[in-house]
Every structure is written in C-alpha cells, then in structure tokens.
Amino acid sequence: MGDWIVIPIVLPAVMAALIVLAVRHDILLQRVFSITATVALVAVTLSLLIFANGNGPEMYALSDWPAPFGIVLVLDRLSAMMIFLTSLLGLGVVLFASSEWDQRGKHFHALFQFQLMGVNGAFLTGDLFNLFVFFEVLLIASYGLMLHGAGADRLKAGMQYVVVNLTGSALFLVGVGMIYSVTGTLNMADLAIQVANIAPGDAALLRAGALVLLLVFCVKAAMVPIHFWLPGTYANAPAPVAALFAIMTKVGAYSVLRVYSLAFGDTAGDMAWLAQPYILPAALITIAVGMIGVLAAKRLNNLIAFAVIGSMGTLLTAIGLFTPESISAGLYYLLHSTFSAAALFLIADLVVSRRGQFGDSLNTAPVFHQSGFLAVLFFIGAIGMAGMPPLSGFIGKLQILDASRDSDAMVWIWSVILVTSLMCIIGFGRAGSVLFWKSSSLDGEIVVEGAKWPVLPIISACGMLGGLVALTVFAGPISHYLNGTADQIFDTSQYIRAVLGDGALAQFGQ
C-alpha cells in the first residue's frame, strides 16, 4: 500500500500535463479526462482512507531517500481524511464547471488538476519545506483559477489576493529558515525530536520562527486580523472556483493542527502548545467579524464569503483548544463547513445566473426561473451554514461547545458561538426572503437565455448538500473515525516511528 500514497499527487499532475498538451483544443475531451481523473482520485483516496483506518501512519520516501534526509509523504488518519474530502469536493466542482464555466476562459481543467495536486501534496507531505513548495503549487494554480474568465472586479480582487499570498510566502520562508537554523532539520517528525531537545540558547529563535510560521498558516486560514483578503477573493472568484477554495482555508487550519500538535505539542517542553494562547482569542474574534459581515453584506456572494470566515473561526476555536475532544469535534466541523460553503457558492451561482442584470445584489427583483426549487436548495444550505438542526452544522457546533466545557474560556466560547449563530440565521434569513420571497410581490418575470434545467450544476449542488445529509446520517461512524484521528494526533510517537523508525524514538524519551 505504501507506494499508493504518492498517487493522489502524481495522478492530477500527469493529468494536468496531458490536458494542457494533448487535448487543449477540445473542451469535450478535456472534460472527459478531468472528470475521469477526479473519479479515479476519489477511488484512490477512498482506498487510502480505508487503509489508514485499519493501520498506523504509513510513510512513502520519495526517490527512496531515507528520512530525515529525503522528503517523505506520510499517510495517517488525518491526511487520509483530508485528501478524501478534497477529491469529493473536486468531483463536485469539476461536474459543476463542466456545464459552462470552463468555457469562459482557457485551461480551466489543467489548472484545476494542478490545484488538486497542490492541495493533496500539502496534506500528505511530512516535510516543512516541501509543504512550502506544495503551498506554492496550489497558490499558483489558484491564481489562474481565480482569474478564470477575467473581468475588472475579478482582476482587482485577484491582484490583491496574489500580493497578500506572495507576502505570505516570503514570511513562510523566513519562518522555515529560522527553524532550520536552530534545529538543522525540515522533516516534521525529526523536528519534533529536535524541538524536544533544543538548547536553551536557541529556544528564543525557534519560538520566533514557529510563530512566524503560525502567522503564515493563519493567513491561509483567514484568521483575524489577516482575513481581509478572503471576502474580495471568494466573492469575485468564479463560482466553482470559490467552491473549490472552501478547501484552501482548510489547508491553513490543517497545517496549524499538524505542525503545532506534532512538533510543538506535549513533548516540546517550554514550547508546549505554543500556538494555543494566540489562536483561541483570535478565532473567537474571527467568528464575530465573519458573522457581523454576514449581517452587513449587500451582495449574496459577500454574504457567503463572510459566513466562510465565521465558520473558519469556529473551526479554529476547536483546534485552538488542543484537546482530543475538541480536535475531534473540530474535524467534524471542518468536513461540514467545507461542504456547506461549497454548496452555498454553487447555489448562489445558479441564482445569480438566473437574475440577469440584478446579479448577486441583495435587492428585491422579479421572480426568476426555478425560484421555488432554488429556494429549497438555498434554505437547506443556509440551515447547514448557520448550524441549525437537523443538519450536520448543528452536530458540529454542539460537539465543539461540549468539548469546550472544561476550558477556562468556556463562557466566551459558548456566548460567542451561540450569539453569532443567531446572527448568521438572521443574515441568511434576510437574504433568502429578499431573494426568493419578496420577489413574488413584484410583477413580471426575469427571463434569461440558457438551459432551464442545467443537469450537471444541479447534480453537483445537490451532491454537496447530500454531503451534509450524509455527515448527519452517519455522524456516529464518522465521529468514531475522528476520535481515533484525534487520539493518533496526540500520540505523536506513532507518527515519528513511522517516519524515522524505532531508533529515533529512544532519543525522544518515550
């Protein structure tokens, strides 16, 4: 099974090259290749998930260079879950885009496959510098996807997005450099050992490097005060791309969880749980900022983008507690918020494309085609995002509240999450009534050219909502898997043994 770990990176990379070189003139072939590759990716990642469920962490050494000298990929329960989530989301997005969006610009499918490669690589890699490289791969692809189909507003937002992320990349290198200068390693498992045995004189540099790195991950995760790139980017990106970007913020959250539980966790001595005091307060403010934005938004896409910020805050709150219960709850919420954000962006595009000149502004407009059907979809998506029963958002938030019971910050966490959930319900309720309800009081009907019942986009949007339903129905088995994942994250010796072997563990003092 070990060699299969590299497939989720190699498959999209080969496909992207093939699409751009061999079939770039034929949109139909591009779609066939891209969809087939994504379906295959779902199958591969599913089998890796089943493997990770039954076994401990498994390593793949690139070019057979032994760790810590070579670069390794590591498959454990966490990374297996993340790549499976990525491929499911990718399948929904590529189906949605294959109806019409991929013709508004060039090379959508090639960029899309590169994006999948970057995201999967970031989830699988066990090396800090390799994480930087995969961050760059996914960012470069995302620049192209973000600007797909261009237009003045999109270019303006894209420019800001690129500048913010290039600055973030520079900081990433500074952080990695500082950590390397005192530990002499970039391998995350080896880093855990070196951090535990750090010389007192080097501790300050290491701490500074680790915090610079935390800042970079939080830029990706859109945590306040460095969230400001997200609303403009997500609201102006093409709808399928915005849906795909739902996983991009999770890459930041994943990196925080991976690095700060493995290398700066229990075993790190003075630096144990280094990230905790910074993440929790910032995450609570992030929720508040996001949900205030939901109340204030004048455009549908902005509304959803701010809801994404709010849900990232909720996720980071759970991660910031750094207990097995909170991590398990947070990962459940991560699955939920990925599907609900993607579903809402896709549904919003179906709505916007039917409103003609009214676009996504939250003003009353005459009735449009299928307004009843889309109202139902929007209603389900909004219930999911706001975290109302019966969908998975409710279960996720309930678990997070439950996990924070023993925390000192319990009062803050409970009050912020509960009040902001109400704000989210009001925001989405208001948007929904303006879009779907009040329109019936106006005369006339908006007529827009084009397919009345576009099959693929509706299947895709319903599939994302189906993900929420599946998360709710199978909450028991999924939580069981996630509890095991959280335990594995906290038992770092499993990860270190898989990468470096038993000899290194003796040094680790366990």
Partner: protein
C-alpha cells in the same frame, strides 16, 4: 561580514515593506521583488556564514558549509522569479481593464462605482 549581511537584509526588508504598502501596483511589484531578495539572502545565511568551504562532506574534509539552505534558496529563487513575472503581467492586465494602476482599483479620494458594491 555578519554586520554587512545582516544590515543588507534589514535594508532590503525595510525598503520592500515600505514599497509593498504603497497604493500603486508598480511600487508594490518592486517591493515584493526586494522582499524576496531579502528572504533569499536570509535563508542563505541560515546555514551559517562561511567562506571558501566545500558544500559537501567528504573524506578528509572537516570544515564544510551546509548545502541544504543553498538548495532551498535555489527553489525559492525559481518560485519568486515566476511569481514576479506573473504579478507584472497581472498588474498590466489590471491597468488595461480598470484604467488605472491603483491596487484597490481607484485613485485616492475618488470613490468609484466599484467601491460601493462591497
């Protein structure tokens, strides 16, 4: 030499940060380029400053320089070079589409119709 390297990194970072915060795209692009130079030199120095040393550990060689930061810098240079090219093209496209070269799409003090959409 430590003073020279450290102060040049500091100077590059200062200028880069200042230019990055300007309102027009050209200074921002130059600022990003300066920042990436600063990062490259910084990364290079993270393997400790040594002169006239082989980058490989061999028989009979006791003093050597750390080859890994050099490999990292090489990767970082390639990526930042590509990114600079991208952002130059992107800012030209933005200038042509929007009609001005301000990062937020409008000159100072002049609200545009794009501003109140958000």
């Amino acid at each position: 030499m430590e003073f020279l390297v450290a102060s040049s990194i500091g100077l590059l970072t200062t200028c880069g940060t200042y230019l990055l915060l300007r309102g027009r795209t050209f200074p921002v692009v130059i600022g990003l380029a300066l920042l990436s130079y600063a990062v490259n030199v910084f990364l290079f120095a993270m393997g400790r400053l040594t002169i006239n040393m082989p980058p490989i550990l061999r028989e009979g060689v006791t003093e050597y320089t750390d080859p890994l930061p050099q490999a990292l810098v090489l990767t970082a240079i390639v990526i930042s070079f590509g990114m600079t090219a991208l952002i130059v093209v992107l800012s030209i496209r933005t200038f042509l589409e929007i009609g001005n070269d301000h990062v937020d799409g409008q000159p100072v003090g002049e609200p545009s119709e794009a501003g109140d959409k958000n």
